[in-house]
């Protein structure tokens, strides 16, 4: 088990030498980026208990920020992604304060409204976003004269970003901040009675989640080579959410494993092209019926059951 992480990292770094297919490399790039966005959603939903559909808004805003920095302001890819993080952080702080005062369903509805508004703005604010036409022709990023052109080279950018982002989320989740966040999710009044102020913690999770999601979206834009209102497509949100729920909300490694599975599974099913998505849907439904709290939740429930039996 101790070797699992280094081995996985080496395999991931070596991926471009293991396959010659640009198609597979393209899947891998979008796969790690969506896994990062899912891990960020896990911080917001799995840890802080906030079912936020705003993630898709931050993802798209980040993509536009990075693209506009490069195409209109002459900045580099790197400054574009950094700006995507900054803009999303400020945006999340601004909308988070009023949003987090709403509860449960109201919060979900407000977060969906934010996501829809983002898509509307991207379509109609043509002076900045160029409307439905989008911003095409995003150049490959470069560093020290090396151009990360093509999926096999862009992979190192995506992988490097993902490892950093996931390391941050892991450090946060395993820190006392993560402990307190999940305590608030489990029983907010109890946490308050123990001297914890829920609002700053929720805001922290919401803002960090937005920054990471936005930067992932910024990297994604340069993988796609174009950013248009389709970046707000519900397909992305649904993928983030499925990864979190199947992996087990609140479990860092569960979500990471599910991210990998959700990338591999639809491709592995290509053997039968017509039934591919039907089988995929079937697997999801069965997984949810058997493990409503995700893989990590299912494992935890087994552990508790064994302990209970021992204590009887």
């Amino acid at each position: 088990m101790r070797l699992a992480l280094p081995v996985a990292l080496v395999l991931l770094v070596a991926l471009p030498w293991l396959t010659a297919s640009t198609y597979i490399m393209g899947i891998a790039v979008s796969g790690v980026l969506m896994t990062v966005a899912a891990a960020a959603l896990n911080l917001v939903y799995g840890f802080a208990g906030l079912l936020s559909f705003a993630a898709i808004g931050f993802w798209g805003v980040g993509a536009y920020c990075a693209a506009i920095t490069v195409m209109d302001w002459g900045g580099s890819f790197w400054s574009g992604v950094a700006l995507a993080g900054l803009v999303n952080g400020v945006l999340a702080l601004a909308i988070g304060v009023p949003m987090l005062r709403t509860r449960r369903h109201a919060f979900v509805v407000v977060s969906i409204t934010f996501a829809l508004l983002c898509a509307l703005v991207s379509r109609d604010w043509t002076a900045v976003t160029r409307g439905p036409m989008g911003i095409p022709g995003l150049p490959a990023p470069s560093a020290f004269g090396y151009v990360f052109a093509g999926s096999a080279r862009f992979w190192f950018v995506a992988l490097g970003f993902s490892v950093l982002a996931l390391a941050l989320l892991h450090a946060l989740g395993t820190s006392r901040i993560g402990l307190v966040l999940k305590a608030i999710k489990q029983n907010e009044p109890l946490a308050q009675s123990q001297g914890i102020s829920p609002l700053p913690y929720k805001l922290l999770a919401f803002v960090v989640g937005a920054v990471v999601t936005g930067m992932a979206g910024g990297v994604m834009a340069f993988h796609l080579g174009v950013v248009d209102p389709l970046i707000f497509d519900f397909y992305y949100m649904q993928t983030f959410l499925i990864i979190v729920i199947i992996g087990g909300a609140g479990s860092f490694w569960g979500v990471l494993a599910a991210g990998l599975a959700m990338v591999v599974l639809p491709e592995a099913l290509r053997a039968s092209n017509d039934l591919r998505m039907v089988i995929y849907g079937g697997v999801l439904v069965v997984a949810m019926l058997a493990m409503p709290r995700g893989v990590a939740g299912w494992l935890e429930d087994r552990r508790v059951a064994v302990l209970r039996a021992k204590l009887r």
């Binding site: 450090a171 305590a183 109890l190 308050q192 009675s193 123990q194 001297g195 102020s197 302990l307």
Partner: protein, 257 residues
């Protein structure tokens, strides 16, 4: 005689025109164990919610060591030294016993998020001290052999003991216990009383809401009786239980006649 740790004056709280608490006034002597009793619907739970900041009182004052708690959030009140347990026993079901107690804010005051994220020296010191304190309390409530078990596997009574340890974690001035032995196995009630006594010996005062007469009589030096949201009587437990007004409130007029 030491002064009061808690003073409640003219406390009022109505819900949709129904007066749940109607001018209640009482105090808890520093370091004492005081009982708060009264028939169902007499306003005990609402009074506790107002004292601990979970409900905002319509009128009246709540003073902790002489400082007004009015308008403070529950977390601010907890940080000032007044903690509570809940009638519907509350623990973090998904956490083990140690994690349950390490959530408590007080040992980590002044560390900050940066220190917590980077595991600074200040954080590590606070963590060591907090864990030592948590293990002591788990020992006090007799759950040491379960320290690494998730709270979900505890029995109802054990969860109440864990919640009690959680309320003690910050070494508060006053702990309000909302029905500490209701639903607890009768053979274990004396153990709970002994645990409260031992915690009290450390200087923490207790305000205990409970229907179990034996428990209250054996433990409290002073008992306050609420009826219809106001104080009906107070005094040493034996005296209060013989007070005709108290018997009437509990049993109805005919029973007394």
């Amino acid at each position: 005689m030491s002064g009061p740790v808690l003073e409640v004056r003219g406390l009022r709280k109505s819900f949709a025109g129904v007066r749940a608490v109607d001018g209640a006034a009482f105090s808890v002597r520093a370091g004492s164990i005081t009982g708060l009793i009264g028939p169902n619907g007499s306003g005990k739970s609402t009074a506790v919610d107002c004292i601990s900041g979970f409900q905002r009182a319509d009128a009246g004052q709540v003073l902790l060591d002489g400082a007004d708690l009015r308008g403070l959030t529950p977390q601010r009140i907890a940080r000032r030294g007044l903690t509570r347990t809940f009638q519907d026993v509350r623990v973090y079901e998904g956490y083990d016993l140690l994690q349950n107690l390490l959530v408590v804010a007080q040992p980590f005051v002044g560390v900050g998020w940066g220190g917590e994220l980077l595991r600074s020296a200040g954080y590590r010191r606070a963590r060591v001290a907090a864990e030592a304190r948590a293990r002591e309390l788990i020992e006090l409530v007799g759950l040491t052999r379960l320290v690494e078990a998730p709270a979900a596997v505890l029995s109802y009574g054990q969860k109440k003991l864990l919640a009690f340890a959680g309320a003690m974690m910050s070494a508060p001035r006053l702990v309000v216990l909302d029905e500490p032995v209701a639903g607890v196995n009768p053979t274990r009630i004396n153990e709970v009383a002994e645990i409260v006594r031992r915690a009290n010996a450390g200087g923490t005062a207790f305000l205990i809401i409970e229907h179990n007469v034996e428990f209250i009589t054996g433990l409290c030096e002073h008992v306050v009786v609420l009826d219809r949201g106001a104080k009906l009587a107070e005094g040493p437990p034996h005296q209060v239980h013989q007070d005709p007004r108290v018997l009437e409130a509990y049993l109805g007029v005919e029973a007394v006649a």
